[in-house]
């Protein structure tokens, strides 16, 4: 699924690959979505964008655990073009 910019972005745009893991994949019905976001956008901006547009998006938490480029990240982290964002359910390994 590709979610395009919904309005022209004066500062330009960036494209982020967003992974949905485990129960979040089940909720949305797919494990990967591409987001086109205005620049600058934080992780939290991307989560809001996603929740508003994917199927059952409102069932995803407003402030989920997140990773950027395979490392745990903060909601305030600024995204770069080409980043891999991931929404992680509460960790349950071991």
């Amino acid at each position: 699924m590709h979610l395009p910019l919904d309005a022209p972005a004066p500062g330009g745009s960036l494209t982020v690959r967003c992974r949905l893991l485990a129960q979040y994949e089940e909720i949305v019905g797919q494990g990967e979505v591409t987001l086109e976001l205005p620049r600058p956008s934080t992780v939290l901006d991307a989560v809001r964008f996603l929740r508003a547009r994917v199927p059952n998006g409102s069932l995803l938490p407003e402030r989920p655990l997140v990773a950027v480029n395979l490392a745990h990240a903060l909601h305030a982290t600024l995204l770069n073009d080409g980043d891999e964002l991931a929404l992680l359910p509460p960790i349950a390994g071991g």
């Binding site: 490392a71 509460p90 960790i91 071991g94």
Partner: protein
Amino acid sequence: MPILTPDALDPVALLAEVAALGLGGTALFVGSVRRSAEDGPVAAIEYTAYDAMVDAEAGRILAESALRWPETRVALRHRVGRVEAGQASVVAVAASPHRAEAFAACRYVIEEVKKRLPVWKKEIYENGSAEWRANDGSRAAAATPAPRAP
């Protein structure tokens, strides 16, 4: 070696991976699938992982251990897919010249794994129902109901 494997875990292979003649003390932790849960007898756990991040995050955890205990060698393996009750889901091992450090490093690795490694579990009950579980024991979202009787 990759951290994740769909095959049975082999503690002896992991012990051999860290063994060295100067390392006289080795601590090992095995986590196994428990049979009992609030929702009834557990038949198995289905583990799902964010594969690429598991290797990256485990690499960071093992590197942190090496910074804290430079003489101690650590290794880790975690199952993915279905693991039957009683079978091992995770093994961490630490070999050191000093047994206190072997215990400390092994404990560090398993505690960080439980907090940070992007792995999720769905408990599969004997009645065929299944439920995502967080490590604090709470129910997670998106339960899978038991199949209806035909």
